[in-house]
């Protein structure tokens, strides 16, 4: 058993609006002339330290926690669960 660091990134699903991302893009980034940036999406980042026998098991545990405890709302959010590089 060792400790694995697992990252969880929660974002709005593609078809769901992200007014925060839109506002940062339109009112800050584009207003200041950085037209090279074509879009901004925001999300929530969680870093979990997990005791598990392998990286895969750690990811499995985190995915379960996120599902069961409604850490994200599957109706509106996508999650990316990955091992910290």
């Amino acid at each position: 058993m060792s400790t694995h660091l697992v990252e969880v990134v929660i974002t709005n699903k593609a078809g769901v609006r992200d007014p925060e991302g839109e506002t940062i893009h339109k009112h800050l980034i584009l207003k200041k002339g950085y037209s090279a940036i074509s879009s901004v999406r925001t999300g929530k980042y969680l870093l979990m330290a997990v005791s598990a026998n392998s990286g895969e098991e750690a990811i499995r545990i985190v995915k379960e926690v996120c599902e069961k405890l409604r850490i994200y709302n599957p109706v509106v959010h996508d999650i990316e669960v990955r091992l910290r590089a």
Partner: protein
């Protein structure tokens, strides 16, 4: 006749409240100025009122702090125009570097709207001319990102030399370090606070057990604009 600008950004929502107090309660001339049209040299004092400029997206006050209107305020700092930042206005002043420290998410993780008791230390400058050192001021807070943070070094070298508003024991609503509710520049020309003085300037809005502690800030401005500071 001194003229006061109340700068409004997309999402600012306490502008009319501040104007009401300045005009109807204290008797000053004040205008709400849309941020695109604001230039500092037309005004004798500037208020950045409360609300949610740009939805508080990214960080409260972060996007407004990068507008031309606020950048101009920073450039014109030496002109000595009195600037008051209330709640979101305070957040903008901190993000723009006109006041020290940072304002973080409340330690409860929730928005909080309730009356608090504070006291003012080292009152100085146009916004506090009529306040006495240690005077108790009651006002309501209404914010989600009001937890004041500053490093110990700056607290000792800057804050303890400047006017400061402190939450009294038992009244800190958000975990602010050193119970800081508001801070001013050393000369008091720029002053920012999380509580809302415009909501505490008239007796009938004050709940039992509290008093209208915000009024002295606006009356001090009126006094200072006539007599200097």
């Amino acid at each position: 006749m001194p003229r006061i600008a109340i700068v409004k950004f997309p999402g600012t929502n306490c502008d009319e409240d501040v104007r009401h107090v300045l005009v109807n309660v204290v008797g000053l001339y004040a205008e709400i100025v849309w941020y695109k049209e604001f230039t500092v040299n037309q005004w004798d004092a500037v208020v950045l009122p409360g609300g949610f400029s740009y939805g508080d997206w990214l960080r409260a006050g972060a996007i407004a702090a990068r507008t031309r209107a606020v950048e101009e305020l920073v450039e014109a700092r030496d002109m000595g125009v009195p600037i008051l930042g209330i709640c979101n206005g305070f957040q903008i002043l901190v993000e723009a570097g006109l006041l020290p420290g940072a304002l973080l998410y409340n330690d409860t993780g929730r928005f909080v709207c309730r009356w608090v008791r504070t006291h003012i230390e080292r009152p100085r400058g146009p916004w506090l001319a009529l306040a006495k050192d240690g005077q108790v001021l009651d006002m309501p807070v209404a914010h989600a990102e009001g937890r004041y943070y500053i490093d110990e070094e700056s607290y000792k070298s800057l804050l303890l030399k400047s006017p400061m508003l402190r939450y009294l024991q038992g009244f800190n609503p958000n975990g602010s370090l050193y119970d800081v509710a508001g801070v001013g520049s050393e000369d008091g020309i720029v002053f920012g606070l999380m509580p809302h003085p415009e909501r505490a300037s008239e007796a009938h809005l004050v709940p039992r057990g509290f008093s209208p502690g915000g009024r002295v800030i606006f009356e001090s401005l009126s006094y200072s604009l006539k007599r200097g500071w």
